[in-house]
C-alpha cells in the first residue's frame, strides 16, 4: 500500500526545475509589483514636487505683480501730479481762469461732484484659494488618510 502511494507521489511530483521556476516567478512577480509601486510612488512624488515648485513660482509671481501694480499706480500719480499737470497745461498755452471770467448757468438737475468713492459696492469675497490635497499628498499620505477615514467611518457605524 505504502509502495503504491510512493509510486503515485513520485509520479505526480513536479520536476525540481519546475519548482525552482515557480519560486523564481513568484519572487519576480513580487519584485515586479514592488517596482510598479515604487515607480508609481516616484511618479506621483515627482509630479507633486513639480506642482509644488509651480505653486512657489506662482506665489512669487503674485508678489511681483502686486509690487508692479503699486509701482504703476505711483508712476501714474507722478505723471498726473499737480505740478506736472500745471506744467503741461502751461505748455499747451492754457491760462488759469480768473473769477471774472467764470460764467455760471443754471442747469436743471445738475448734481455737484461728490468726493471720490474708491469702492462703490462691497467687493465679493472669493472663497479662499486652497491647494487640493491631491497636489500635496504623497502616496503614503493618501493611503494613510483613506485608512483613517474608513476606520473612523466604521467606528462611527459601530457606535450607532
Amino acid at each position: 500500500m505504502i509502495r503504491t502511494i510512493d509510486i503515485i507521489h513520485y509520479a505526480y511530483k513536479q520536476a525540481p526545475w519546475r519548482v525552482q521556476r515557480q519560486w523564481i516567478s513568484t519572487f519576480l512577480l513580487i519584485g515586479l509589483g514592488l517596482a510598479m509601486i515604487a515607480a508609481l510612488y516616484l511618479d506621483v512624488t515627482a509630479h507633486a514636487a513639480l506642482t509644488g515648485r509651480a505653486i512657489q513660482d506662482l506665489n512669487a509671481d503674485i508678489i511681483a505683480v502686486q509690487q508692479s501694480n503699486a509701482d504703476l499706480e505711483t508712476q501714474s500719480a507722478t505723471l498726473t501730479s499737480n505740478s506736472a499737470m500745471q506744467t503741461r497745461a502751461l505748455a499747451l498755452n492754457y491760462q488759469p481762469v480768473q473769477s471774472n471770467q467764470m460764467q455760471f448757468i443754471v442747469v436743471p438737475g445738475y448734481i455737484a461732484p461728490q468726493p471720490v468713492a474708491l469702492i462703490s459696492a462691497p467687493a465679493l469675497q472669493p472663497s479662499a484659494p486652497t491647494i487640493r490635497p491631491e497636489y500635496t499628498q504623497s502616496l503614503l499620505d493618501w493611503f494613510d488618510q483613506h485608512l483613517h477615514s474608513s476606520l473612523s467611518a466604521s467606528m462611527l457605524g459601530a457606535s450607532q
Partner: protein, 582 residues
C-alpha cells in the same frame, strides 16, 4: 558536477546575501548614528524658513482720488560672502552702477563683521539702477558660463516696498512722512500709523516643494481718503509762498475748512519739505512744533479773538448790536490801562463800530461787563486752550489763563478780550468761529474723509462739538461781521459774495513784555454768509511790508477766497439766489 554547480550557486548566493545584509546593516547604522540626528535636524531647519509677511502700507488719497502717498519697489543689494568669488569685480560693478566708492565696498567685503555671511552693500536702490546692475550680472554670467564661475556671483537683489509721495512737498505738513524703519512721523502718517501700517504676519514656510502651501493672507494697511482738495491745496500753498515774499513775512499758514462739517479742504504752512527726502527734516525744522503751524504752534491771535468775545457778550445778553459805548481812548482794568490800536479815542460807538474799528478799549469794557466767570465760561465752551481733536499728530492746546491760576490777573480779563495774553492755534480759532458761521453749532475739524479696508469704504461722519452760542447770536454776529467788512471797504472783500470776517494784528510776546516792532497778522473769514461753504484762516508771521493784518492778511484772504470759489464751484450770491428761486 551538478553538486559542484550547486555549491558554487550557494556560495554566490551567500555572498550576495551577505553583501545585501551588510548594506542594510550600514543603512540602519547610518540612520541611527548620532551624526544622522544632526543631519536630520539641519535638514528640518533648512526645509523651513520663518518669513515675515509685511502688509502693503495703506495709500493716501485726496478727496478727488489723487494719490498723495503710495508705495514703490526699491532694492536691497547685498553679497553672499560664501558664494562670492571675485570681490574686486563685485565692488567695481556695484560701485560704478550705483555711484558708490568701489574701494569702500571692497574693504567692506574683505573685512566683514564676524559671523556674517551676507553683507548689505546698498539699500533703497531705485529700480532702474538695481535692474541695470542685475542686467550686468546676467550678461557676465552668460559670458563666463563656460568657465563655470561668474565674476559677479554672490550679488543678490531683494526687492521691497518704500513709501513714496508723488506730489513731493504738496501738503507735506498734513501728510507727514514714513522713515525707512516704516514708522510714520507727523501729520496723517503718524496719527494713523497703526491703521496704515497694518499687522505683519510671521509664518514658517516650507522650502520643500512637496509641502508648498498657500501664502498667508496678509490684509493690506488701511487706505485713507483725506478731506483735502489737492488742487486747492496747491493753489493755497502758492498764494502763501507768494504772500511771504510780497509782505516780507517770516512764515505763515493758511487753512481752508468747510464750516458746515469741519472738513479741512486745504492746510498750507511754511516751511515745507519734499517728503521723498524726509532725511532733510532736521535741516529744515528746528523743532517739531514748526512742522505744521496751524495745529502745533499756539500764538497770541490778537483781534480775530474779538469774534469770540462779542459772541459771548451777545449770547449772554451783556450787549446788543445797538449797545453804545463811549470810547475815551483808554480803559483801566486790573491796574493795567488798555489802549486802542492807534492810541486814539473813538467817541460813542455801538457794538458794530467796536468790531468794525477793532477797538480794544471797547472789547475790554465788554468783557468786564460780562464778568470773569461768564467770559471764561464761554471761552471754555469755545474750546480755547483745549485740543480741538483734529486728526493730525502733535496738536498743541495753547493756553488760556483762568481765574484761580497762579499767573492769572484781573487785567487778563481785559487783554484776553482782544486776543492778547491768550495762546491759541489757528485751528482752535477756526473751530470756535465755526459756531458763528454755522448757526451756533461748532464743528470738529478733521482731515480724514474715509477709510478703505477689506474691500469696503467707510466714510467718516461729521462730528459736532456742541453749541456754545444760540442760533440768534450766531446770525446776529454773522451779519455784524459781514457789515463791518463791507463798511470799512476791507481788502478782504470778494466781489459778488457776502463775506464775514475779522482782521487781527497781534503783538508778539518777548521776555518781559511785547516786541515793539513786529506783529503777527491774521484774518479769519467765511462765506457766502447765507450758506457758508468755506472758512479761511490766514496767519502771517512778522510781515515787514506792513504790521497791520488789514493790509497783509486781509488781501491774502481775498485771494484765497477767490481761488476757493473757483475750485469749489460756488456761484456768486446773485446766481445762487436765482437758483434758489427756481
Amino acid at each position: 558536477m551538478r553538486e559542484q554547480y550547486a555549491w558554487r550557486s550557494l556560495t554566490l548566493a551567500s555572498i550576495l546575501a551577505l553583501v545585501g545584509f551588510a548594506i542594510i546593516l550600514q543603512i540602519v547604522r547610518i540612520q541611527t548614528s548620532p551624526e544622522a540626528a544632526i543631519f536630520r535636524r539641519q535638514a528640518a531647519q533648512d526645509a523651513q524658513t520663518v518669513q515675515t509677511f509685511y502688509p502693503e502700507r495703506g495709500l493716501i488719497y485726496d478727496r478727488n482720488g489723487h494719490l498723495l502717498a503710495g508705495n514703490k519697489t526699491v532694492y536691497e543689494i547685498g553679497v553672499d560672502l560664501k558664494s562670492v568669488k571675485d570681490k574686486n569685480a563685485v565692488a567695481l560693478a556695484t560701485g560704478v552702477e550705483l555711484g558708490l566708492n568701489p574701494n569702500d565696498l571692497y574693504k567692506l567685503m574683505a573685512n566683514p563683521p564676524s559671523n556674517l555671511t551676507y553683507l548689505i552693500l546698498a539699500n533703497y536702490v531705485d529700480e532702474d539702477k538695481a535692474l541695470a546692475l542685475q542686467q550686468l550680472k546676467i550678461t557676465t554670467d552668460e559670458q563666463t558660463s563656460s568657465s563655470g564661475q561668474s565674476s559677479l556671483s554672490g550679488l543678490e537683489f531683494t526687492p521691497h516696498p518704500e513709501r513714496t509721495y508723488p506730489e513731493g512737498s504738496l501738503a507735506s505738513n498734513v501728510i507727514g512722512f514714513v522713515s525707512h524703519e516704516g514708522r510714520g512721523y507727523f501729520g496723517i502718517e503718524e496719527k494713523y500709523n497703526d491703521l496704515l501700517a497694518g499687522t505683519p504676519i510671521q509664518e514658517s514656510v516650507s522650502i520643500d516643494p512637496n509641502k508648498a502651501a498657500d501664502l498667508p493672507q496678509v490684509p493690506d494697511g488701511t487706505t485713507l481718503i483725506l478731506t483735502l482738495n489737492r488742487d486747492l491745496q496747491a493753489a493755497t500753498e502758492q498764494i502763501l509762498d507768494d504772500s511771504l515774499t510780497k509782505y516780507g513775512a517770516q512764515g505763515g499758514t493758511i487753512v481752508i475748512m468747510d464750516p458746515r462739517n469741519g472738513e479741512i479742504l486745504a492746510m498750507a504752512s511754511t516751511p515745507r519739505m519734499d517728503l521723498n527726502q524726509f532725511w532733510n527734516y532736521s535741516s529744515i525744522y528746528q523743532n517739531a512744533s514748526e512742522y505744521n503751524l496751524a495745529v502745533s504752534t499756539p500764538y497770541e491771535p490778537g483781534s480775530v479773538f474779538k469774534i469770540l468775545t462779542m459772541a459771548a457778550a451777545l449770547d449772554n445778553s451783556t450787549v446788543t448790536p445797538a449797545t453804545t459805548f463811549l470810547d475815551t481812548g483808554s480803559f483801566l482794568i486790573g491796574g493795567v490801562t488798555i489802549k486802542n490800536w492807534n492810541d486814539q479815542a473813538w467817541g460813542i460807538q455801538d457794538m458794530l463800530g467796536c468790531i468794525q474799528n477793532s477797538l480794544n478799549v471797547c472789547m475790554a469794557w465788554v468783557s468786564s461787563q460780562m464778568g470773569a466767570q461768564n467770559f471764561y465760561g464761554y471761552m471754555n465752551r469755545f474750546g480755547v486752550g483745549q485740543l480741538t481733536g483734529i486728526d493730525l499728530a502733535d496738536e498743541a492746546a495753547g493756553r488760556l489763563k483762568v481765574p484761580g491760576d497762579t499767573d492769572w490777573s484781573p487785567s487778563d480779563l481785559g487783554t484776553n478780550a482782544f486776543g492778547q495774553g491768550v495762546a491759541a492755534t489757528p485751528i482752535q480759532i477756526m473751530k470756535a468761529a465755526s459756531a458763528v458761521a454755522n448757526n451756533g453749532r461748532m464743528v470738529m475739524p478733521h482731515v480724514l474723509y474715509a477709510m478703505v479696508r477689506d474691500g469696503r469704504q467707510f466714510n467718516v461722519p461729521a462730528q459736532y462739538a456742541g453749541s456754545p452760542i444760540s442760533v440768534n447770536t450766531a446770525q446776529t454776529l454773522d451779519h455784524m461781521l459781514a457789515t463791518s467788512i463791507k463798511n470799512e471797504a476791507s481788502l478782504a472783500i470778494v466781489p459778488g459774495y457776502q463775506i464775514a470776517g475779522k482782521t487781527g494784528t497781534a503783538q508778539i510776546p518777548i521776555d518781559g513784555g511785547y516786541d515793539p516792532t513786529n506783529t503777527n497778522a491774521s484774518f479769519i473769514g467765511w462765506g457766502p454768509i447765507d450758506d457758508p461753504q468755506f472758512m479761511i484762516y490766514v496767519w502771517l508771521e512778522e510781515p515787514s511790508a506792513s504790521i497791520w493784518g488789514s493790509e497783509t492778511a486781509a488781501p491774502v484772504f481775498a485771494e484765497v477766497a477767490q481761488k476757493a470759489i473757483l475750485m469749489l464751484n460756488i456761484p456768486p450770491d446773485a446766481i445762487r439766489q436765482q437758483i434758489a428761486q427756481h
